[in-house]
């Protein structure tokens, strides 16, 4: 079984590599590209710690072969900070509202929250809880994560209003 040539865009940059098709996307990101933000928690697509954005969808990178992602546009948590290096709004709200403890689920939470807010900029608490249900956290009990995402929604709305 031979390696294949893989090309994709990751955090806005074109990347190319040789990889075994069976390499899971999460291992490709972590070990080939050294983007270690996506974490491995359950290996069975239940926990969401490996969530990244792929072609405008939030996906679990532990349940996708790198071959499937060939040609895709991928964003990881490493691509979520502001251009000047400061924390992005969602990241900042997680910090502000204590939406993380051990930090292991956090990159997946942030990536999922990002997509959720792209699709629903003004979610209710119930919508956040439903929309985040593909991400498990063992430390926080979710309450502050939900709070952080609702606060991020408010902040993003205020930013948008200011820009208009």
């Amino acid at each position: 079984m031979s390696k294949m040539h893989v090309k994709m865009t990751v955090n806005g940059k074109a990347v190319e590599a040789l990889a075994e098709p069976r390499t899971l996307l999460v291992h490709f990101l972590r070990e080939e590209l050294k983007l270690k933000g996506a974490h491995i928690g359950c290996e069975s697509s239940h926990c969401g710690a490996c969530t990244v954005e792929l072609d405008g969808k939030s996906v679990k990178s532990c349940t996708m072969f790198v071959a499937q992602a060939n040609g895709a546009d991928v964003t990881t948590v490493e691509g979520m900070a502001n251009p000047d290096g400061s924390l992005g709004v969602i990241q900042e709200m997680f910090r502000e509202h204590h939406g993380l403890q051990c930090g292991y689920c956090t990159p997946g939470m942030i990536m999922r929250a990002h997509r959720l807010l792209q699709e629903n900029p003004t979610p209710t608490e119930e919508e956040v809880r439903f929309g985040m249900a593909g991400n498990l956290c063992r430390c926080t009990g979710y309450q502050n994560i939900v709070k952080a995402i609702l606060a991020a929604a408010d902040n993003l709305a205020a930013q948008k209003e200011a820009a208009e």
Binding site: P21, R22, S45, G48, K57, M64, Q68, R115, A133, G134
Partner: protein, 277 residues
Amino acid sequence: MYPGAFDYHRPSSVAEAAGLLADLGEEARVLAGGHSLIPMMKLRMAAPEHLIDLQDIEELKTIEVAGGAVTIGAMVTQDSVIRDDALAAAAPIMREASLQIADPQVRYVGTIGGNVANGDPGNDMPGLMQCLDAEFEIAGKAGTRWEKARSFYHGAYDTAKADDEILTRIRFAAVGDAMGYAYEKQKRKIGDYATAAAGVLVGGGKASIAMTNLSDTPIWSEAASNALATGDVEEAVAAALAAIDPMEDMRGPVEFKRHVAGVILRRAIERALSRAV
């Protein structure tokens, strides 16, 4: 939890995919969203030598509602099923059921074709397809044919589709608001398979009842459907319960599942009736 090695193929047409599948033989498998196959491969319960990824076959990614019929390509994701307003109007039970499948990330990737073709008793779409009396388009090297959902499932992971064939499309008659509908599912948490689930359509002197994860195949009961069509809820529930054959697992013993199946079905019927014109 690492899959075995394989060669990867990404055809751009159904004909090309069917040709590859036939040529590569029994060591080849078709890959749609992968949320059933990849976990199996990581557990080494499946070890195909070739994977034929259907993601570039654009013709399988469309939802068409026309002339009273709904046609859905096999590569349409659960998420797209939820978002499609025309589909929701033609068969509102599809959106209601899809929202109860897995979680957001899995729904972005998991496809309707994979869900119906795999023959996993835990999947929700097979029962729903039987409820809707859908047909599946099956493509092989020799051409295509249509199979009724109600006769497609033979056992767990055992279907009317041969190993060298691909399930490419699903079609069923639009229901619109002619019938009340409900998809009711009890599960332990989001991301779990059903402890018991029931899909119900009722109205205009017709009814259809199907149940999920209560046997090694989905269960559509003609007797139950007929009883409900005549308004006999008790007989409908009794007939459906007579048709199921649940197995004990961590969700609970058989006695419990049978009881819950009855409760869930009653609730589905009640909700469907409340929506019937």
